[in-house]
Amino acid sequence: MKAVGSDAARAVAEAAARQSYGKLVAWLAARTRDVAAAEDALADAFAEALERWPRTGVPEKPEAWLLAVARRRRVDAVRRRLTSEAGRDHLKLIAEEAEARMTDEELPDERLRLMFACAHPAIESGVRAPLILQTVLGLDAATIASAFLVSPATMGQRLVRAKTRIRETGIPFRVPERAELGERLDAVLEAIYAAFAEGWSDPAGTETQRRNLATEGIWLGRLVASLMPDEPEALGLLSLMLFAEARRSARRDAAGEYVPLAEQKCAEWDAALIEEAESLLRRAATMGVIGRYQLEAAVQSVHAARRLTGLTDWAAIRNFYDALSVIAGSPVVAINRAVAIAEAEGAVAGLAAIYVLGDDKRLNDYQPYWAARAGLLARLGQVPQAIDAYDRAIGLERDPAVRRFLQGKRAALRH
């Protein structure tokens, strides 16, 4: 064991605790389909690991440590607390089968199967990412709730309902067959990306909970990419997240003010992460199956190329968004495509692409739409309309630094 004290060491201990906790939950749940009971049986041991390992260091066999504590914890007391029969069965599993295995061999990693159960089509799509974060990473409902902007009570209920559903409807813990893998893998990747995106949207990194979510998203992405190394979209998603992560700190200047992508200093991007992202994307491309995440990663790759060429190839970006709107069209893609068109062909063409979206009610409270629209109107000198659009964007923004940035743009219009 290694004695630790600093925050960095605490993070290492916490990651190790989550790693082994997730493996154990997956292993237990895969045998009984009862995620809640598996979590329940391990809750005390996990809490003790989170409290103890930062001080004592990570034990040599973390899973065995957790199992031993779960077993030793005055079984009777735990039994009284456990409400379900299933919870008691899990304790029995821990006591017998699991511990016997732990003595000589590694626990099989069944987290991928757990993730596929959590992202099953029978589970409500909005709760899939939270469910993965809770079961695989052991994040509590309150942390997840803050990150996804819902109340902790609501999030708690949704998670409980989803776990009951897994048990009651008999959702399988398995990696789907080839034939149905595509769609099902999409759901897993989408859940991971949703977690990452929530975390990444806190650029200042001031909110620990949300910043960690980006880290956890990447961590899950690495896990899936390592367990499914031949799936181009799994590689594409990891590549996409690493490209974005590489620019995290460049999104703020020294004073904490927002810096848009076009004005970011390439020297502040994380070159090692970009390299890793590029190589993942190249590897995915050799597999000959294009997909949403590879295309989005390709867009990021064009942006990242500015560090070498000093230029952004907007025509290439536009092509990637054209392809994206065919295979995964959404208002978000349409807005990004319009911005690319504006850069490649001029603001008039870009604005035309924006106006096509005008009737979509979902855009009423979608900040990026109004910000993009304002920027293009401003470039065309349509000041009153640009001011209106900036006001909408400012009113819809929740990040104070971005709000100040937009207010600055709006104020500059008057001169």
């Binding site: 902007l149 819902v150 109340s151 009423n364 006001d391 400012i394 009113g395 929740r398 709000r403």
Partner: protein, 124 residues
């Protein structure tokens, strides 16, 4: 459903803030209110004068007690509110997070309890 968004912030902090920050904040509030109206969720909303102007009234044993100052001394004070009409709590939280007051202080989100619903709950 209707929700009341209560905006709490430090009056002392606001009083000490530079004029520029106040102007910027007010403009942000203007844009926020406008965005609510355009999205069709705004029902009502006002700013409140500082708590030092507040007066507390209480009638006990037939005697009316009128006291200077707010009901409760808190670190952050109620400074304003919005009443909004949105489909659910998630939407209310999302609007609360966008309020400039959310980054300067604290937002409390309270579902409105319609009288009819209250009566059926408590007189049935």
């Amino acid at each position: 459903m209707q929700y009341l968004l209560l905006i709490y912030s430090s009056e002392a902090g606001m009083a000490a803030a530079p004029k520029e920050a106040i102007t910027q904040m007010s403009a942000a509030y203007g844009a926020y209110t406008e965005a609510m109206k355009k999205a069709g969720v705004f029902v009502a909303g006002e700013r409140l004068k500082p708590t030092k102007i507040a007066t507390t009234v209480r009638v006990a044993n037939g005697k009316t007690n009128v006291i200077d100052g707010p009901y409760a001394d808190t670190k952050e004070q109620l400074g304003g509110y919005y009443l909004i009409e949105v489909p659910d709590m998630d939407a209310a939280i999302s609007w609360a997070a966008r309020c400039p007051g959310a980054s300067a202080g604290t937002m409390e989100v309270r579902p409105i309890w319609p009288m009819a619903e209250y009566m059926t709950t408590y007189t049935a």
